[in-house]
Amino acid sequence: MQLSTFQDGFSAALLGHAADAPWLSALEAQPGFAVYRNTVLKGCIDALQANYPTVCQLVGEDWFRAAAAAFARAQPPRDGLLVDYGAGFDNFLAGFAPAAELPYLSAVASLDRCWTACHLAADATAVDRHWLAQQAPGTVPHASLQPHPAARWAWCEDFPAYALWHHHREGLALPEALDWHGDGALLTRPHADVIWRPLSRAGVAFLDACAQGLPLETAATRALVAEPATDFATLMTSLLDAGALTITNPHTTHTG
């Protein structure tokens, strides 16, 4: 038998949809076949549980592992980097019938995914308040900054996804009267660890504009359009302190 024929049949049998073939049936009939089948599925589920800890906390381990098994069958990993497995789990949960009673689950999953992406992203030097202070007068509006490679931000229109997410992440009790409105989050990695803070609509609009390469003046305008009452100086300080921004053109940088 050709090696590729063996691997086509064996991999299909592992995933439970093998064609009828005597040689495959002979393998599947052995007790040892289940060891491989269980290990493959367990590897996927364990990775998802590690990468979506807040979702798991919200729904409990049994429910989570059942949902993760369904996701793993639908979207198995493409490579061995299981630390990065599970992009798309948020969309999967949005369409997963048993999750219909937890409409915020998908948005919470998006924040777990933001954490993973932030954790694994490239290193770069963030600009800080000193950078801003050292710019020549009149140059800042035309300068552009880009989001730090590790910065991730999200806005959830319908639910306080960030409030739910960070209370669970931090092991805090949820407030008795949680304001049931949309909220936003910013995750950054100014040093080794991923940190998070709330982000306003204005902050989301500003970072979106920076990601498009727009100059700071335009990005600031977008922020004020999104949320006219914004104190832009405070927003900017918060973003700089979070390490959310980096220089677009490294030749003009102050990296102190």
Binding site: Q7, Y36, T39, L120
Partner: protein
Amino acid sequence: MASPLTAGLGLKPQHYDEALRCTAPGLWWEVHPENYLADGGPRLAWLEAIRSRHPVALHGVSLSLAADAPPDEAHLARLAALARRIEPAIISEHLAWSTWRGQYLPDLLPFPRTHAALHRIAGNIDRTQDVLQRPIAIENPTHYLHIDGHDWAETDFLAELVRRTGCTLLLDVNNVYISANNLGFSAQAYLEAFPLHAVAEIHLAGHHADPVHGNALLIDSHDAPIAPAVWALYEQVMARTGPAPTLIERDDQLPTFNELLAERERAHRALTHTQPREVACS
């Protein structure tokens, strides 16, 4: 040439701080490179910190050398970049496949050891070694299935891979013990036929019996101390090979760091013929 490595341990994130501080002589650490193929961030920083104080080996699980396809070039390039950064003492992979037609199956899967498979795998090892610019060590896998159609005994297959590619071997003694048990062959006879001259590293680990089938089906679970029978086989191998870098794998049911270190000390003593010593590291 005497190896500076004696007994090492699999590096677990839970033990980073203790691992970093530990000064046990000859200690080294092994990691799965897949967990560190990040673009940046704390994982790489942790590994570089460990590497600044200890030798590190990269033990891959997803190169899928026994797939009937060339290794993924993007994965190879990332592995090579990590190797340049970490300068590992040893890079190893398995005689197994795990990625097939763009899908990763997180296990080390078996195949019929045919002439064609030998040709394909030798080519895949060649390609890997070309990219990494160094030999890699190939590990004997754990077996759970009787598969028809082998042209080669596993020990001969491995010896031929060594001859064709210049690779070295990683002898996992626990895998030999489990496979012999599950498939009904003699572990002693397997080890007698094993090309020990090419062994660059030895693995030891614990296993457990399948909950349904009991001792007839042992599982390579890495979740228990090394079994006495595996220690006995290891000591027999050592008597023939002389000291070889030995790594204890523990991936589940993690004990305290000092318990792992005590188990590691037994291998270290076997390698150095030294007397028992205090092993606590703080």
